[in-house]
Structures are given as structure tokens and as C-alpha cells.
Symmetry: C2
Subunit: 461 residues, 2 copies
Amino acid sequence: MANLTFPFDTETYVSRRKILMESVGSGKILFLGNQDVGMNCEDNVYHFRQDSTFLYYIGINLVNLNAILDCDSGEVTIFGDDASLDLIVWMGNQPKLAELGAKVGITSIKPSSALADYVHKDIKYLPPYRGRHEVTLRDLLGVTSLSPDMGLIHAIVKQRNIKTQEEIAQLDQACTHTAKMHETVLRNATPDMMEYHLVSMANKYVFDNNLQWSFPTILTKNGQTLHNHYHGNQIKEGDMVLFDGGIELPSLYCGDMTRTFPASGKFSSMQASLYNIVYDSYQTALNDSKPGVFYKDVHLAVARTMVEGLKSLGLMKGDVDEAVATGAHSLFFPHGLGHMLGMDVHDMENLGEIYVGYDETVEKSTQFGLRSLRLGRRLVEGFAITIEPGIYLIPELIDKFKGENMHADFLNYAEIEKYRNIGGIRIEDDYIITADGNRRLGEPLANDLVSIEEMRTEAIA
Amino acid sequence: MANLTFPFDTETYVSRRKILMESVGSGKILFLGNQDVGMNCEDNVYHFRQDSTFLYYIGINLVNLNAILDCDSGEVTIFGDDASLDLIVWMGNQPKLAELGAKVGITSIKPSSALADYVHKDIKYLPPYRGRHEVTLRDLLGVTSLSPDMGLIHAIVKQRNIKTQEEIAQLDQACTHTAKMHETVLRNATPDMMEYHLVSMANKYVFDNNLQWSFPTILTKNGQTLHNHYHGNQIKEGDMVLFDGGIELPSLYCGDMTRTFPASGKFSSMQASLYNIVYDSYQTALNDSKPGVFYKDVHLAVARTMVEGLKSLGLMKGDVDEAVATGAHSLFFPHGLGHMLGMDVHDMENLGEIYVGYDETVEKSTQFGLRSLRLGRRLVEGFAITIEPGIYLIPELIDKFKGENMHADFLNYAEIEKYRNIGGIRIEDDYIITADGNRRLGEPLANDLVSIEEMRTEAIA
């Protein structure tokens, strides 16, 4: 039996498709569901991960399905094949597509082989993110280069960017699981473990609850490397550990959190000083994130809090606003404050991050650091976002900035050298934008220095 | 830092390529290394898995590399790009390709963008198993349908089918880890756990040792479903659990084992009767597997042992040889006795199972059951193989056979119905063919009924 869940009722899927078809207006939409992907041959596969857009509108978490929505007639057809006896011997009894279609309000089911007859050159489709989608689209359309439909992309983004109450309930669940996974590591990691032992602890939470991770776990004593997936170092007394991990529910709604903690019970005083600046920056983001505010402005306010803190430590100098305007702080904070969250950890990144996080009212910056901000647009009630400020000492970047004497009016390179090997600190939680502000998604896990040190002191006691 | 290991010395890689180029004779060979594969967008990826053939000949376990071997000049070139500073900020310092090339005896390194200039229409390549390979090959060659080179496939199969002593040492390690993973589950599973709790135990062994699985774990109380990846059932007293799982080393050499055990301390008498038939069949395979013997004949000898056992239980009847010749036993044993093992769990399945497991001296059968035998050819010293007999009661298959009154001279349907819901039993271990017989790979884990029951009795005590 496949691992199928239908988190929402039939009417939800019917209504989602109706809204989309009205928004797109006319023509046909082709949604490609995901296939399995071979690790080293076609039949030895990674765990199946349905396409998020397909699951959002079609609702069936099963391999090898495609769908066409006819905006003119309103008809929706699923293309797929019921299991043969041969397949039942190998894979077990599978639910019939007709039964599954009924659960999501779709009665028209056709065999996969019929798909080509229903695809015409002007059908609207999304950009492929897997090679197999690319091949399927090329072959169906008889072309060698693709033209995804911008109107379709915008209509989907508009709809999926606003989370409904029932979606928020799924995000709450995913974030609660994510917090519990983090707490497990915070309360059980001990100095002298290998990084992969901590990864294994986190994974045990995931698999004990029959869940998946929403992205490859970042768990490292080298938190200054932003997307570090190497787990082969031994952790030592005095190190900080940065753990950025999230859990994905069977419905695909997911969480994304980061905690940074001392391997021993206490942060060193240098580590603590930086930690508290990140914490203050996080508070700035919490205060400022509400409907009507550009998230780009929240990012810049956070940057100012950081510069103030770094000035008090002597790592930066000069006028705070000028420092932020020139991007001097990007030496320490080279990424964005956060991103949209939903059925994808970077929600709808496959449709184009720029369409999800920006609109005609705000342009993406080309400045180092700010150009990595995935979300810049005005916040709207129902947006699910991450808030994730961080401070990093990246030796390669320090050498580059120093070598070119960049931002010399704002950076105290002599002081910075003293922190050169301290690593990286990030605090990240997930929030839903409410009518007048924001609310943390899921059960909370403390992120202030005192609470982190308390959990760590108990862990190594 | 990427997770790179070089299990073999430079000379090994040089020699492997030399043998291949001599065997192919002339022309150029293109090896495509693997890219990352996006789960739900290009940048949110599954764990990286290098292509086995690429790693066998080129030795570098890193994403986004390709290579060309010129059989005429003997020159070997790697196409790839060193990390930019931007990438270092996100992914950490990466080893330079020139350093990595030196470790595997390759000094010619060119940028990825140069690859197209070196690919000509008559370059020899392998069949793609990922969509991305398909797109790359189509674009490089300017074609819409591909023609992999049969001479290249045969040369690679000939070379990789025979494991060297240093490869056998890797397989021993992988199989020892695999046995320990199985022992962990055997000794710790308790009745009333969910199947996914047992999967989580197995995964903990994998991740605590910084390894990977060699294929998606099969762990189920419904062992009659041969490739069952559903883990959502609760296990109960009286159930049998079938666990088929394997571990892959960073070198990609892997193990593949199956144990079937009672959820409680003891098998029921019906379960025990079937278990002992599978065990006897396994002993037949051990006795018969040696150089010069067709593995197809070993499979058929095993089938005869099964029929004898099933006759003694009253489930089958009639002449044993005739029953096996007509395929009556395939109701209980619908799969093959085993397959090649190496850097792939079904070794080189991506090149075509038929070329790996069969040759001009033996044809693949079209008979149900026997047609699923992946390895039929004469065994040769240095072959690494699995031995995995099993007996399954598959209700859907019983209904089909019975409904069509198939093999009525050999099948006692009335008796079979009594066993209808008993599930499936398989015993699987990995062997290397030696000069005069075979040797189990890795440290052994008992598979006889008494030892299994002893481990289980201790587990639930």
C-alpha cells in the first residue's frame, strides 16, 4: 500500500483548482507529477517526493501521474495507470486511481499513454527542475527549448503564497516536529561526538515518527559555511555547533529551524557577545514583521541592529546607516533574513524565487549579501516566513575583503582577526504573518542564550 | 569539505582505464558523472550519489564532473570547475580538481564549458538512467534519440564483473556493516512496534557510522510483497518480519542481506516449516555455487529443494523435476535466486541486467519466476553474488493461479489456502566465488531457525 494521506477534504482541492482556472482564464494547464529518480540505475531510487504544485492542486501523493486542467470547460483529467498483477507481486496492492480521484473530486482518469493526445503546443506548463520533466516536456511538445507560462506561474504564486487556516495547521505540526527534533539534539549532544552522530540523533527523531527531512541537514562546527553538508568532524569542548534542519510532513508542509549551541555547557565570552547580537537582531525582525512592511526593510533594520552590536564589540565602526547602505555588514551577514515557507522549504523556488519573494513594487538588489535575500516584498496576512539572522566569520571572505581593503571606513580588520576562527551563529524560526503582526508556527523552542546554556548544561551533566 | 575517499591507490585507477581502453580498442569514451537531483527544486537535493562506472574508472566522488578517455592516444581528461569564492561561502572550501586528478593519475583538467568541443557524434557513451543524463547527451550530440555503445558496455561488464582482492576487501566491509545493521534490528525489535520504528533502528546504525543504504529498505510484516517500501503497519505477536536492507560504503561497494524473524520469540509451527524449507534451499545454493556452474542451474536446483519441501508439507505434489520444469513452484518463489553485487546492489543494472547476468552461452527464460532471475551465466572466480531463496504466499497470485487452475497437477490449492495469510520468508547473504567454491562476504550473521529464535527470545526478554 502506498503511503497516501489526504490532509484536506475533497472540496478544498476542487476549490483550489477552480480559483486557479479562473485566475489563468483560458487554455489548458499541464501539471507533471514526479517520477522516482534512480540513484545508480532506474529502479534503485531515492525516496519518492511528489511535486508540490501537483500535490497542492491534485492531492494524490503517488508516482507517475500527470494532470491537465482545462480552464475553458473546467474539466480536470488525471493521466496514470493502475497497478498490473506483476506490479502487485512486487509492490503490493495499490489503491485504484478512480478511488483516489474521487477523494480529490476528479472523475476523469485516462491512461498515461493518452497524455500525448491531450497536449497541444499552446498548453501552459511550469519550468522543469528535474531532467525527467525536461525530457517529458520536450518529447510531448516536440521542441528542444521550453517556454514555461508566466501567467500560470503568477497565478499559482498568488494562490499558494497566502496560507489558509488548514494549511497553517499543517505548518504548525511540521514546526512542532522540527522544534522537537532540535531539542533532541540540544539535550543529547556531548563534546567529542562526531558531527554525524548528531545528524543521526536528528534523523532518529525523523524516522521514529515516519517523517522526512525538508532539506539536507546542515549540522556542523563550521557554521560559517552556510550550506555545509559535511558531517565528518569531531566536535570538541569550546566549539559551537550550528544545526539547521527541518521536518516535512507527508502532506509536504515543512519546518525550517536553526539553533547554535556550545559543545560544552557555556558559550565563551566572545561567542556569547556575538550570540546576543544575533538574538537582538532576531528581536528586531519579530518587532518589524507585520502586514504592509517590506521584508527587505525588515532585513535592513536587522542589519542595523547587527552593526550597532558589532560596533559595541569594536568589529565595526562609523555611521550605522551608511554602513548598512554600503553593505559593509555583509562580511558578517552575507545571506538574506528569510524566505517563504510552505510545501517547499523555500516555497515555490522551482517556479522562480524572484516571482515568489518580489513583485513590481520592490526590486531585488545586486549588492553582495542583499542579493541573497529571497523575500523582499510587502508582508501580507497569511504569508509563512522564516526569520533567520546570522553572524559568520568566514576566513576566505575576510581575506578577500581585507585584501581589497573593502569598507575600510566601517570594518576594524585588526579586531575582526581576533574572531577569525570563531565560526558562525544563526537563529531561525518560522512565523505566520497575522492581521496585526506575526505568530510563531508550532510549539516554541527557546532560543535565548540563557535557555540554550541551561539545556546544554543538563545535557553534559 | 566534500566527503571524498580514495579507497584505492593511483595505480589502480590508471590500470583500470588502461585495461578498458585496450579492450574498447579505438575511439573516445564519454563518462558522465552524476549531478545533484532536486527533490522539489533544483537546489533542494537528495543525497549525492556518484555514478558507479564514473567512480570505478575516474575515482572522484564529486558532483558535476565528466570525463573523456581517448582509446587511441590514451589521454584522459576530466571536465569540471573549481569552486568560486561565492560557492566557498555557501559550501565551504573545496579541494582543487588538479589535486584530486593527481590522486587518480589524471593531469588533464578542463572547464565544464569545454566539454562540447570534445564531444563528436561517434563518441561512445552508456545508456542514461537519469533524465539529466538524457538531456546532456541529447544536447551534446544534437540528437533526440540515443545509441549507447554496446562494445563499451561489454568491455565494462567484463572488467567490473570480476572483483579484485582490493574490491573484495571493500565488499567484506560493506557486508560486515550490513550484518551488524541486521543484528541491531533482530536484537532490538519488539512486538507492537510500528514497522517504521524498526526502519529507524536500522537507519540509526547507518547514520551512526556515517554510511548510506545501498537501496530503499524493505522492512515489513507483509514479506509476500517483494519490494514493499510501506512501513506504516503495527507489528503484532505472531507476525513474521522480513527485513531486506544493505549498506553502501563511501566507495560505493555495498551489501545486501535479508533476514526473516518472528515478532515474538518463536516461529509458529507453520512458519517454522516454511522457514526450514527456505533454509534448506539456501544450503543447496551454497553447495552448488562454484566456478563453471550456470547460476541458472543453481536456481533450478534450489527450486527442486523447495518443491521437495513443499511436497512434504502437502502444498505441492507430483514429480519434482516436472513441477520445476513447468514453473509450478513460481507461485511460491516468483523471483530469481540472486544477482551480481558490487558498486551497485544489482551490479551494473544501469548498463543492462541482461549483459551482466547472461552471455551467449545461456538465454534468459520467459517463464514466470525464472524470467526474474537476474543472473544466469556460468559462475567465475571473482563474481560477487547474492544467494536469496524465498517462499511467499501472495494472495493475489494464489487467486490468479487458482482461478485459472494453473499447475493443478503440482499445486494442492486446498492445503495452500491454509497458509494463505502467512506472508513471506527470505534468507539472503552475499558471497564471492572462489577458485573452488564460494566464501561468505563479511562477518557472518546466523540465519538458521534456532539462532534466529535465540536472538529474538533475548530481544523480547
